[in-house]
């Protein structure tokens, strides 16, 4: 059993990503009686770090540095390595996000360690955590454990529930001073595109469109439904290839693999590559005019009909129940 786990938290637009709290829950599974060190790297983040206590961190350490304003692999690796050297943890856990994927790989490489990425579940085999992770985009699953060294893992958002926040929990946030060498990576600009403000990989509701939407303009109909449900918009490859939307929205074997609570598939047929990316959604709804569409074979609920008729009615109906 691990005695000490470092959880590297992540912020986006000044707020913690929920997966950071889920990672703390994962750490608690690995070290139920151990020390959970919440770590935060960034610039001007110290005041927010105490939130990690609310979700179960027993200590919180921060590296607050100008050079950590934006994520760069070099800058963050230097800061995180300083923390790992100081804490000497048995395990390091972070979210399976753009940042987490990158940083965990660099840390594991530097520590001569393995890394179990994209874990969706954890069980203990005696002292060893065994992680479940999807392979072949969810067409199969494997259970993997580290053989030796520090255990590194990234946790897929929306799979391991975070514990309820307890705002009465607090502690003093420790600051770690790290000298960060000049960065070669210069970030010139960052353009925010996430229209609904809900990231696809973390969304609990996804409204995904396919070729059946027939145009870029029609595709925008999905925004309204996603907004209404506090969700994000996704797409099939067909819709991206037809330029109805950006490739960043693509869900599938090439594209994102998602696990929302509710997946509403609008006008998409359910090609095997797409299904691979969404088949583990908890509840799947399909709207399609073709009763033979493969998506119906995996949908929990299906409506066969013209989506240009169904979708507006569905939006109106949702408006009645969603406050």
């Amino acid at each position: 059993m691990a005695n000490k786990v470092v959880v590297i938290g992540e912020m986006r637009d000044g707020e913690f990503r929920n997966v950071s709290f889920e990672a703390i829950a994962a750490a608690k599974q690995i070290a139920p009686d151990g020390e959970i060190v919440g770590a935060l790297l960034g610039s001007g983040v110290k005041d927010r770090a105490d939130q990690l206590f609310h979700y179960g961190a027993s200590r919180v350490v921060v590296v607050d540095h100008d050079k950590l304003k934006n994520y760069t692999p070099e800058g963050y690796t230097q800061a995180a390595m300083a923390l790992v050297d100081q804490e000497e943890p048995d395990a390091v856990i972070m979210g399976h996000t753009s940042l987490g994927r990158d940083l965990s790989a660099k840390l594991a490489a530097r520590m001569e360690a393995g890394l179990v990425s994209d874990a969706v579940g954890i069980e203990m085999d005696g002292e060893d955590p065994v992680f479940t992770r999807p392979i072949y985009s969810g067409k199969a699953f494997e259970k993997v454990k580290s053989k030796d060294g520090v255990v590194f893992a990234t946790i897929r958002p929306n799979n391991i529930p975070a514990q309820e926040a307890d705002t009465s929990k607090s502690g003093s946030v420790e600051t770690v001073d790290v000298a960060i060498a000049d960065l070669q990576t210069i970030i010139k600009d960052v353009v925010k595109n996430t229209a609904t403000g809900v990231d696809l990989s973390e969304a609990s509701v996804i409204v995904a469109g396919g070729r059946g939407l027939k145009s870029e303009e029609n595709f925008k109909m999905l925004d309204e439904l996603a907004d209404l449900l506090g969700g994000a918009v996704g797409a099939s490859r067909g819709a991206c290839d037809a330029e109805y939307c950006d490739y960043a929205l693509q869900i599938g074997q090439t594209g994102k693999v998602v696990t929302p609570d509710l997946y509403i598939a609008v006008g998409l047929s359910g090609a095997i590559q797409h299904v691979a990316g969404m088949s583990n959604s908890k509840v799947i709804v399909a709207l399609n005019k073709d009763p033979e569409a493969e998506i119906f074979q995996m949908a929990d609920y299906g409506i066969v009909g013209d989506l240009f008729d169904t979708l507006p009615k569905l939006i109106e109906e949702f408006k009645k129940v969603v406050v």
């Binding site: 934006n70 692999p73 690796t77 994927r101 790989a105 660099k106 594991a108 490489a109 393995g114 990425s117 065994v130 992770r133 999807p134 392979i135 072949y136 985009s137 969810g138 067409k139 199969a140 699953f141 494997e142 259970k143 993997v144 454990k145 053989k147 060294g149 070669q184 990576t185 210069i186 970030i187 600009d189 960052v190 925010k192 595109n193 996430t194 990989s201 509701v205 449900l229 490739y247 960043a248 693509q250 074997q253 090439t254 594209g255 509710l262 088949s279 583990n280 908890k282 509840v283 709804v285 949908a299 929990d300 609920y301 299906g302 409506i303 009909g305 169904t310 009615k313 569905l314 129940v321």
Partner: protein, 256 residues
């Protein structure tokens, strides 16, 4: 420019996955170049055509991967290297990183390109791990690359947002969808590819011992997800179906 592409042979994305004796069955399965690696190959060819130099395709795998290397050569790669790893115990991303680092140890590199993720293992680790070991700067998930002298300007996809980054060669980049449209090998390309150099190496050639490159992780089990039970196709007029659906989502599935 000396451009290297690290690529992987993977299952065709259309393949259904079947298990046999607790392993993924490869019987009769089609294999392809990992789709994200195709973007890397295409980008490497375009950069070479613009700036001169040479594109070398490198893969770690078994002899079957020669076919995918030849396909990459037919697209326009100049030469290929197959590093055989059949004897590696519990090979994982650590193993691949070490083997590739062994290969690159004595190479003059301007750029290494690879896919952002492989569609089989799905970890996306090999690129950043290799960069770390080689002491190179790297950027993952790139959707645009331009080179001016030694300055590289990059657009990176960060979960839908875009970052514009500048750095200096040498650099390791991983390709995201949208970077380019990979070309199909032409018939003359396929004919030429047969004559292009393809070097086969093993661990000895790289001064590596099997023990050095054994995996740091171990697969305990592999299984298929349970088949999903048939769902409910709603009936009646559209208005009724829509009302019923929302009610079911609220009261039965409890997801809204």
């Amino acid at each position: 420019m000396n451009i290297y592409v690290i690529m992987k042979r993977t299952f065709d994305t259309e393949e259904k996955i079947q298990l046999e004796n607790g392993q993924i069955s490869e019987d009769g399965a089609e294999f392809i170049i990992n789709p994200y690696d195709e973007y890397a190959i295409e980008e490497a060819i375009q950069l070479r055509d613009e700036h001169g130099g040479e594109v070398t395709l490198v893969t770690v795998g078994d002899e079957e991967a020669e076919k995918q290397l030849r396909t990459g050569l037919a697209m326009g790669g100049d030469k290929a290297v197959l590093i055989e790893d059949e004897d590696v115990e519990d090979g994982d991303t650590y193993s691949t990183e070490r083997i590739l680092a062994g290969y690159f140890a004595d190479k003059e590199v301007d750029m290494i390109l690879g896919g952002n993720v492989a569609v089989d293992g799905g970890s996306g680790q090999v690129g950043p791990r290799l960069a770390e070991r080689l002491g190179m700067v790297h950027v993952t998930s790139v959707v645009s690359v331009s080179v001016d002298g030694t300055t590289v300007s990059i657009e990176k996809d960060v979960e839908g947002d875009q970052e514009f980054i500048e750095l200096q060669l040498p650099v390791l980049l991983t390709a995201q969808q949208g970077l380019n449209e990979p070309r199909y090998p032409s018939l003359p390309g396929i004919m030429k590819a047969k004559k292009k150099p393809l070097e086969e190496l093993d661990l000895d050639d790289l001064d590596l011992d099997e023990d050095d490159v054994g995996g740091k992780t171990e697969r305990v089990e592999i299984y298929l997800p349970p088949p999903k039970a048939a769902g409910k196709i709603l009936e009646g007029e559209v208005d009724e179906q829509v009302t019923e659906l929302v009610s079911l989502l609220k009261n039965e599935a409890k997801v809204i």
